[in-house]
Amino acid sequence: MALTKADMAERLFDELGLNKREAKELVELFFEEIRGALEDGEQVKLSGFGNFDLRDKNQRPGRNPKTGEEIPITARRVVTFRPGQKLKTRVEEYSERFAASELGRA
């Protein structure tokens, strides 16, 4: 099971009392504004979660994995995500619980 926009809208409806249409629109707009900022070349910083940064990559040699044919990978701008300290810590805590449950099973 993965978290989707529908799950996020459902929670806004359940816990914040937004109506279903408002909740759905707000979730949609939340991701659209982030995409728009990145498209405009602007970094997005969501404190407590992480930063979406942009990196410009130079052209580099590549290969078609099916045919083996050499084709250059053109210069491009890519999005990278750097998780914030708070999120990293929470995920590390999950790692510890995960390791403990694996040991329990062994």
Binding site: L26, I34, G48, V79, E93, S95
Partner: protein, 105 residues
């Protein structure tokens, strides 16, 4: 763009909602996403991207003060893979210029 700037833009665009409602909602969405990842659950947002955990195997590190070797346990770290629409938009491409690609739901 920061979280508070994002809240301001959304509040302007959703004028039927109060600033306070939008602020609470944005914080709730970010918390929902953090919670999912911290429970080992993936996030899949079509056209935006997916977040998942990558495993970093145990390694031998060093105590920077004493130089002693210490075994660091394996751990998960958050990972983001941008979706097709986001990749194309930051790269200034229109959809018809790029090759076909299948993206997870």
């Amino acid at each position: 763009m920061t979280k508070s700037e994002l809240i301001e833009v959304l509040a302007r665009k959703q004028s039927q909602l109060s600033y306070k409602d939008v602020e609470t909602a944005v914080k709730a969405m970010i918390e929902h996403m953090s919670q999912s990842l911290s429970q080992g659950e993936r996030i899949e947002i079509r056209g935006f991207g997916s977040f998942s955990l990558h495993f970093r195997p145990p390694r031998v590190g060093r105590n920077p003060k004493t130089g002693d070797a210490v075994t660091l346990p394996g751990k998960f770290v958050p990972h983001f893979k941008p979706g097709k629409e986001l990749r194309e938009r930051v790269n200034g491409l229109t959809a018809d210029m790029t090759s076909r690609e299948v993206e997870p739901a």
